[in-house]
């Protein structure tokens, strides 16, 4: 269910945890990393939003006389790439794309996952079973197989990549929401609301969903990480976002052939991906502990 294992559990949620010692201490410690992660993300977003505007070069300005300038030379802080474009400008513009892909794919996958989970969990029965079997079927494909199969079929532009990633990342959420709703459905407050004549929609959205917010937020954060990585994998396998639009993934695309002559071409975007994904993972982990002290989502 993951691209190269990236959505392997990032925390301990898969196995029930019960009252281990010093939860407050542990939570604080978690928050510590989450804090760092959150700060890095904030800084990244700000940098990508503001800095390109004040740089002397744009990300698409080609200067073939200054190709492969190493970092800290010729007025290029992070050097230039194989067409003489400023690496810093490209990294930041790529960050805009990659982060946007991350956030939008996350948002979309959340919407799909929540809707499917809500409907399946609330109505149960045949519809629920049908929905969840579909989820099971999609989960039978390793994500990367799905990504590959589908990305080979579509136009490789930003919108489609977002759609594609979202389409392969909603199943976990659907499962979480479905389990949560199914459990909450029979609780007193839901039954009471139903007795009072509230509509299905109202019960689902107003009574049940808010109770499932914690795992959804956690899952959402981890999904951003997943989406950023997925974009990189799609690019690596040759179906990524089209040039000249840079993304961290497609900047890495051909970088391996310059590993010996211009290693910064591979190291910088790879490092950015690792940094961003790690930060989101830390944040997600922190959210898990902070939002749900019981941590047990089952």
């Amino acid at each position: 269910m993951s691209v190269g294992g990236m959505s392997a559990p990032l925390s301990d949620a898969a196995t029930p945890r019960r009252g281990f010692g010093g939860p407050a201490l542990r939570r604080f410690y978690r928050h510590h990393l989450a804090l760092i992660g959150g700060t890095i993300i904030l800084l990244m977003v700000l940098a990508c939003a503001i800095v390109p505007g004040v740089l002397p070069y744009t990300d698409t300005f080609i200067d073939i006389r200054h190709r492969f300038a190493p970092p800290f030379t010729g007025g290029h802080l992070l050097g230039t790439d194989q067409l003489g474009r400023d690496m810093l400008a490209r990294l930041l513009m790529a960050g805009r794309i990659s982060l946007a892909v991350g956030f939008l794919a996350m948002a979309l996958s959340m919407v799909i996952g929540i809707v499917v989970g809500l409907v399946a969990g609330y109505y149960g029965g045949v519809i629920g079973a049908l929905f969840m079997r579909f989820v099971d079927a999609v989960l039978c494909f390793p994500t990367i197989f799905l990504l590959l199969a589908v990305s080979a079929l579509i136009r490789p532009d930003v919108t489609f990549i977002i759609l594609l990633i979202a389409c392969t990342a909603w199943m976990e959420v659907a499962r979480i929401v479905e389990a949560q709703i199914r459990a909450l459905r029979e609780r007193d407050f839901a039954v009471a609301a139903e007795a009072l004549g509230a509509s299905d929609m109202r019960i689902m959205l107003r009574e049940l969903l808010p109770n499932a917010v914690a795992p959804i937020v956690v899952s959402a954060t981890l999904n951003v990480a997943h989406a950023i990585l997925a974009e990189a994998y799609i690019s690596f396998l040759g179906y990524g976002i089209q040039p000249p639009t840079p993304s961290w993934g497609n900047m890495l695309d051909n970088a391996q052939s310059y590993l010996s002559s211009a290693p910064w071409l591979a190291i910088l975007p790879g490092g950015m991906i690792a940094l961003a994904v790690t930060s989101f993972n830390f944040l997600g982990d922190g959210f898990r502990d902070a939002l749900d002290p019981r941590t047990d989502i089952k």
Binding site: I62, R67, Q82, G238, P244, N254, Q256, S260
Partner: protein, 550 residues
């Protein structure tokens, strides 16, 4: 890596016998120092970036397959680097002069080599040749191209080693086509229930210098010396074709010595400088028969306009593409034919990068600069999308340079790349693209006939049969091409094809960029490597390769 087709997957590449740099010198030195041993010895590992999977040489295949075929099979005659036909299974190459072809070009007669045996010991006869030619036209058989072969009539065996046939109409390029047809054994394929799935297809038996040994799918193919080979060689005991799916990995393994010869796509231009300095490796820059060009879709109104094509051509900085992205290796080109072709016209006007002229042409044609500096006419912006195979980094860089070049003359170009299986599907064949960056060849075998590219009857989108996906229409060119196919007179044909080259260049039917220079490499001490522009794989003469004794 995840690129399924070779990076320059379009087009067949044939190479010319020209070793640049130190390679020729080195070879000469070693040739003097070492004599090939009498008994086959040693092995060569050939690295390929695509996997050979088709071992029935009559079925649809790509160029890496052909490299393997040359080791296993023989055609009736081959083509040497100078373009001369060299008899293999036939005793001589038929022509009007030697009586092999009748004056009207309709009746062909062949005499075949005697004493040749298949790898399993069965003698080779005229029946095998008849079977091969007939099989290509057998309805249920998944033959590759039937182009030319569909003109065959009454293939008749007139003796154990004699065969004759008629052609429905005179078709002079057929002798070139036959140089690429490998003869298959009747006694194995003829007895199979279904030649499409016969066991032969995965355990081929030929007449060639090497015998099939084993195949590890997804990894390599091993061939061993055929000691009963009728021709010269083989001098190697074993040849291994190793599949390395990524060009960077291929180069790395060439550099670390895991493969002896980096073939076909070989070494990417960006590794060339480094490769030259490697110890114990010889790098060969091979001119090619192919042409890298911008293929405009003439059915797309903006690019159907000659003035626009002229402006784009003048606005293109060819030299920058060659120098920057391909490290100065390729040669700029004007003609679709390579200089090695006997019909090549060296007198075509040379391209000059001239944005001022480009701007004038567009101004005169009524394309005027609008907002954002993009030209417009009748409210329509001057913009189009340029497509190529996605995941080809060097081509993507070319696109980005062109984008910048053309922006300066007020033309907006966008990039719309697609995976190979999509790019060369209906998108290309049915002319759904606007413009494409492609590498292609324009010859039939080593014959200058290019009807399938430029004849207006060869436009698939209009129901024609051919590869004129540019939808180029020029009645004069049509007439010339028709004339060229029916004539067997070389001088007359040369004049005809030179006129075709002039017309195509003048119309800018395609915007020629450069003639690629594929870089191959091999270990020092490997003798006999000789690039051949007239075949698709430089393993064509692998039977004469050997290791020089240190």
């Amino acid at each position: 890596m995840g690129r399924s087709f070779s990076t320059s997957s379009v087009g067949l590449r044939r190479r010319e016998a020209l070793l640049l740099g130190g390679a020729a010198l080195l070879s000469a030195r070693f040739a003097a120092a070492a004599q090939p041993s009498a008994k086959p010895a040693g092995q060569v590992i050939v690295g390929l970036s695509q996997e050979p999977t088709v071992f029935n040489p009559l079925m649809p295949a790509i160029e890496v397959d052909q490299g393997v075929w040359w080791s296993l099979f023989n055609p009736l005659w081959g083509v040497d680097p100078q373009g001369n036909f060299t008899p293999q299974l036939a005793r001589e190459v038929p022509s009007i002069e030697n009586g092999g072809v009748s004056k009207d070009g309709l009746v062909w007669k062949l005499r075949l080599r005697e004493g040749v045996t298949w790898h399993d010991g069965t003698p080779f006869t005229a029946e095998d040749v008849k079977f091969t030619l007939d099989l290509i036209n057998t309805p249920g058989f998944r033959a590759g191209s039937r182009q030319g072969h569909n003109l065959l009539r009454d293939v008749t065996v007139t003796g154990p080693h004699e065969i004759t046939w008629r052609m429905e109409r005179a078709y002079s390029p057929y002798v070139s086509l036959l140089a690429w047809v490998f003869i298959v054994p009747k006694h194995l394929l003829g007895t199979a229930d279904d030649p499409n799935t016969a066991p032969f297809n995965n355990a081929p038996v030929g007449t060639g210098p090497f015998r099939w040994s084993e195949r590890v799918p997804g990894d390599h193919i091993t061939l061993v010396a055929n000691e009963r080979y009728f021709g010269e060689g083989p001098r190697l005991e074993r040849v291994v074709f190793k599949y390395i799916p990524d060009l960077t990995a291929l180069y790395t393994q060439f550099r670390t010595g895991q493969i002896d010869h980096a073939s076909i796509d070989g070494i990417l231009a960006n590794f060339y400088d480094e490769a030259k300095s490697l110890k114990g490796r010889v790098i060969s820059v091979n001119p090619s028969i192919g042409l890298e060009s911008i293929a405009p879709n003439h059915g797309f109104p903006i690019l159907g306009e000659k003035a626009v094509r002229q402006a784009l051509y003048a606005g293109m900085n060819k030299q920058a593409i060659i120098d920057v992205i391909y490290y100065g290796l390729p040669k700029p080109a004007e003609s679709f034919l390579p200089p090695e072709a006997w019909a090549f016209d060296a007198g075509l006007p040379a391209h000059r990068h001239d944005p001022v002229q480009a701007n004038e042409i567009l101004d005169k044609a009524g394309w005027l600069r609008g907002s954002r500096g993009i030209r417009e006419r009748d409210g329509k912006p001057l913009e189009f999308a340029l497509s190529t195979t996605s995941g080809n980094p060097l081509r993507e860089q070319v696109q980005q340079l062109l984008m910048q070049d053309w922006q300066q003359i007020g033309v907006s170009m966008t990039i719309n790349n697609k995976p190979a299986a999509v790019m060369w599907g209906d998108f290309w064949v049915k002319s759904q693209f606007q413009a494409a960056l492609v590498g292609s060849t324009f010859m039939t075998g080593n014959d200058p006939d290019c009807s399938y590219r430029f004849n207006s009857a060869a436009i698939p989108a209009k129901g024609g049969s051919g590869s004129n996906t540019y939808q180029y229409v020029n009645p004069e060119v049509d007439r010339l091409l028709q004339q060229g196919q029916t004539s067997f007179d070389k001088a007359e044909r040369k004049a005809i094809y030179q006129k075709v080259q002039q017309a195509v260049r003048d119309d800018l039917a395609i915007l020629p960029i450069y003639r690629p220079s594929p870089v191959e490499g091999f270990k020092e001490g490997l003798m006999g490597y000789q690039p051949n522009v007239n075949v698709r794989s430089n393993c064509w003469n692998i039977e004469t390769w050997y290791w020089a004794k240190a």
